[in-house]
């Protein structure tokens, strides 16, 4: 072949590869966060696909598409994938990207540790999912792997071992990432950025990472012990052993719920303040309530064990119901921010409102299941499935989408298509409620969770729920399509497309390697709002003078 063209292509390809490699090993917090986001998105889609398969099977009573055993793998891996591999790491990725920008830091503490955390998490996720390639299939002992069902006799096979190892590694990865965020907050704030000038989102990340540091090591320990139990034995023996495992697991398993909640309260708080054109209402009360929330969240785990007869139910009922107090303060502050504002209903604001109103249903039903006499009926039923999907899907995922739509222009420099974003919001609202609301009735009427087959009388509501799952899938594809379209055919965002209030909007979109070339004066948790108000006052004075 003659001519220089092929050579040029070769060079370009080489450069692309080099760029790709450079991106993979880059320790900049924004790039590490982007890597976590991409991988967690992948696991979200994979785990979502498992949910769609489950909903297809559940559309009608009887077994149509999958066997009982395959179904057990599906729900175990769906739950595990969403919690260990998607919502937790995605929440941390949001923090890893934004916290340094919000507190005026040029980098994170221990950037290589964060990158290491990412790789450990990725290996954990691959380990967990590779169980599908083994003889007995993937882990099938639910996302909690309760003893003795998860021991070598109850769930034999390498797939379950890969699950245990995967959960341990993914959790270790998340822990390392969280530690870097926590230390960044404590050590690397810009000079004038005192703790009580940190934006709301950064405060929620402080509460989140604090919870991670306290709770995640316990799960890592539990997975080590579970692996030893499976291969050596003699660790979780007898009824005390199985109860002890549940205590250890839920000591992680409840706090993680708040790891998947706090960051999205923060994202929604920032979004609401920006689109109300008003600074966040009740900042100090929110900080106090977050700390109270964090402390309390470590003391409620026994409510997952009300029906074991092995815990003091009254104690956990009391602490769990008390969670309504900090949650109520957060709601007051979010709504208080809207009252008296000048509300602009852009797509991020719609998702934020979706979070506020839909999470409410999850939160209020949470108060119901915190009462043992009520839990005795609904525990282990579809009522619980409905409850936690209202918190995690209709709540947290909507909060994540609020944050994603809000910060997407900052991270990419491109605006999302507004009409498509709004359409995807309404599709997702319809899908989420169609999928999860019928489950309250199913559970109350007596349908247990984790079954591939059910009584014929539950058929209609299940069909409704399956249709809803299809609508959700369409909504998710619309969100993804919007992102792809918007980075391909770019509408430039500029530094601050929303008229926002916090430091990340001071720098360029996307921010440069060291984040800032200058910083504005920092006198409150809303420095850009301070500048705007000072400017308005100057104008007013000038008018009066004229």
């Amino acid at each position: 072949m003659a001519g220089g063209a092929p050579v040029a292509v070769e060079v370009e390809r080489g450069a692309g590869l080099e760029r790709g490699l450079a991106w993979l090993v880059a320790t900049d917090h924004k790039k590490t966060a982007a890597k976590i986001a991409v991988v967690s998105l992948f696991f979200f889609l994979l785990s979502g696909l498992l949910a769609l398969t489950m909903r297809a099977e559940l559309a009608q009573p009887g077994l149509q598409f999958v066997s009982d055993h395959t179904y057990d793998e599906l729900f175990s891996m769906h739950g595990s994938g969403m919690i260990y591999l998607f919502l937790t790491p995605a929440a941390l990725a949001l923090g890893l990207y934004l916290v340094p920008l919000q507190i005026g830091a040029s980098q994170i503490a221990a950037p290589r540790l964060a990158l290491f955390g990412f790789w450990i998490y990725l290996i954990g996720g691959v380990s967990m999912y590779s169980g599908f390639l083994t003889d007995n299939g993937a882990g099938s002992a639910t996302w909690t792997a309760t003893i003795p069902l998860s021991d070598s006799a109850g769930t034999p096979g390498v797939g379950m071992d890969l699950w245990v190892i995967g959960v341990g590694l993914a959790t270790l990865g998340s822990l390392l990432i969280a530690i870097t965020i926590l230390f960044t907050i404590l050590r690397l704030r810009a000079p004038a950025m005192t703790m009580l000038r940190m934006p709301v989102f950064s405060w929620t990340m402080l509460a989140t990472t604090f919870t991670v540091v306290a709770a995640f090591p316990v799960l890592i320990g539990a997975m080590c012990l579970l692996l030893a139990e499976r291969h050596i034995g003699g660790i979780f023996t007898g009824s005390t052993g199985s109860i002890a495992y549940q205590h250890i697991f839920w000591f992680y398993g409840h706090p993680v719920v708040y790891v998947m909640f706090f960051p999205f309260v923060g994202a929604v708080g920032e979004t609401v303040a920006t689109f109300a054109r008003k600074r966040f209402f009740g900042y100090r009360a929110l900080v106090v309530s977050l700390l109270f929330f964090t402390a309390l969240s470590m003391a409620v785990w026994g409510h997952h064990m009300f029906i074991t007869g092995a815990v003091k139910n009254q104690y956990y009922a009391l602490t769990s119901t008390m969670l309504a107090i900090p949650a109520g303060i957060e709601y007051l502050d979010l709504i208080g921010t809207m009252i008296g504002g000048a509300l602009v209903f852009r797509a991020p604001m719609l998702f934020a409102l979706g979070f506020i109103l839909q999470f409410l249903i999850g939160g209020l039903t949470g108060i119901i299941v915190a009462s043992p006499p009520l839990d005795y009926h609904v525990n282990g039923s579809y009522f619980i499935v409905a409850h936690f999907h209202y918190t995690l899907f209709a709540g947290s995922l909507f909060g994540l989408l609020a944050g994603l739509h809000y910060w997407f222009p900052k991270a990419t420099g491109a605006m999302l298509r507004e009409r498509l974003a709004k359409a995807s919001f309404w599709v997702l609202v319809l899908g989420a409620n169609l999928t999860f609301f019928p489950m309250f009735f199913l559970g109350y009427e007596g349908m247990p969770r984790r079954v591939a087959d059910y009584e014929p009388r539950f058929g209609d509501l299940n069909l409704l729920s399956t249709i809803g799952a299809g609508v959700i899938a369409v909504g998710i594809l619309m969100v993804l399509g919007n992102m792809v379209l918007s980075v391909r055919r770019r509408i430039p965002a500029g530094n601050d497309p929303w008229g926002a209030q916090t430091l990340e909007w001071w720098t360029t979109s996307p921010p440069p390697l060291r984040n800032f070339t200058s910083l504005p004066p920092i006198r409150s948790y809303a420095p850009l709002q301070d500048l705007r108000e000072a400017g308005e006052e100057r104008e007013e004075r000038a008018e009066v003078a004229a």
Binding site: P148, G309, I339, L360, I368, L374, Y376
Partner: protein, 211 residues
């Protein structure tokens, strides 16, 4: 010690449920209305200056106190009912031992020489006399199961090596469907049982027929 009220788990549940549900619905309606009001009233338009009010601690404290009062009321209601359900000390109760296994149930009537066993291929049915307190002693032979009778609004874990005791009282007559509600492996969804609620004389006949 005598019991402070009826033993029916169903009526206990209904009592607590109606309180929690209506307070929950009330709070939900309130929040939806306030958010709806804010959306309509504070929509951005020409000439609207957003308020600069950023804090009102009296409101925060007021709301926290109000919620704390609701929490106290709910917890009091729960504790009251929980104390009743925890007290399983009726000497004249009918005793039934339940042993759960993968994937079936064994019901034994101690001192009566009656045992009913069935598994996922052959659903077992046991009988109880209507209106009397039934004291269950529940355990498991292998993994953790849960004994759930949705019509009674009650369940309890069956844990190997541990016996959980609880009381139920069945009203009326007919058959109640029971099932396992703790995932326990392959045939979990088929691990079901039935309860015949019978009059005293029919119950005695049933016992005699199963001896």
């Amino acid at each position: 010690m005598s019991r402070p009220g009826p033993a029916s788990t169903r009526s206990d549940f209904s009592h607590v449920w109606s309180i929690y549900l209506w307070i929950g619905v009330g709070v939900a309606v309130l929040v939806f209305v306030v958010v709806g009001f804010a959306i309509v009233r504070y929509r951005a338009k020409e000439g609207r200056e957003p308020s600069r009010l950023a804090e009102r601690n009296s409101v925060e404290i007021g709301v926290a106190t109000l919620i704390a009062a609701i929490v106290a009321f709910l917890v009091f209601t729960t504790f009251h009912t929980e104390a009743k359900e925890d007290d399983s000390s009726r000497p004249d109760a009918v005793k039934i031992d339940v042993d759960a296994f993968q994937w079936g149930w064994k019901f034994t009537y101690p001192g009566q020489g009656v045992t009913v066993v069935g598994d996922s291929d052959d659903e077992p049915n046991f009988a109880v006399p209507a209106g009397r307190t039934i004291s269950f002693a529940l355990t498991s032979s292998d993994v953790i199961h849960a004994f759930w009778i949705p019509g009674q609004r009650f369940k309890k874990d069956a844990i190997p090596g541990r016996t959980n005791r609880f009381d139920m009282e069945f009203d009326g007559d007919g058959r109640e469907q029971g099932l396992c509600s703790e995932y326990c492996g392959l045939r979990h969804s088929k691990m079901r049982f039935g309860v015949w609620v019978l009059s005293d004389s029919s119950y005695e006949r049933w016992l005699a027929a199963h001896r």
